[in-house]
Symmetry: C2
Subunit: 96 residues, 2 copies
DNA sequence: GACTTTGTTATCATTTATGATAACACTTAC
DNA sequence: GTAAGTGTTATCATAAATGATAACAAAGTC
């Protein structure tokens, strides 16, 4: 293989448009990984958490699912976090 | 005055339901203060930012307004931040 | 005082997230 | 292998955020 996947990624990320999309997706991915982590750390299944939030497990799955194309409301994330014993902290980092 | 405002607040915040509502409102308030701050630091008016985001100044005002009862989408906040040169960082803090 | 700039508020249309239900896939324990 | 537990996916109805327009308010400029 002439061009490795890694090289391709590196090159692609030099394209500003690609990078921007990458950042957006990766932060969405990170968020969902974090959601799953705090739920599991708190020892809840999706169904148990759904009950705490007065909703259904399918909705929790959608929220946590990486493939999901939704951008959740801030309040949804806050309530999810609170239900499993966490608090949301939001910071704005100057892009350098 | 027998009961000072401060005492009232302190007492009220011992009521879990009141505290929960207080936290929610105060974090929403903080968020909006931060939004306004980063926009001003970047030197934009609401109208200028609106143009960057392909929307209207009234919508920016609604987003920034403390009295607003909306809970914005995560993507809305992310795009706002990015447009004024900031990146969003989200952390989940264990409630102790 | 009139004028410009900036932000606010109300309203309506449109888009999108969320709620609910059901069927399915996967794992694990029996 | 089958039954229970857990998570996924598709779909539809409902609620809520966002987009757009217009009129207004406040503050500063001349």
């Amino acid at each position: 293989m002439r061009t490795s996947l890694k090289d391709f990624k590196k090159k692609a990320l030099q394209n500003p448009e690609v990078k921007s999309e990458y950042d957006r997706l990766s932060s969405a991915y990170e968020l969902r990984k974090q959601l799953i982590k705090i739920r599991k750390d708190a020892g809840f299944t999706q169904e148990e958490l759904a009950e705490l939030l007065h909703t259904k497990k399918s909705n929790i799955s959608r929220l946590e699912n990486v493939n999901s194309k939704i951008s959740p409301k801030l309040s949804t994330i806050e309530e999810y976090a609170r239900a499993v014993g966490y608090k949301l902290e939001i910071n704005f980092i100057l892009q350098s």
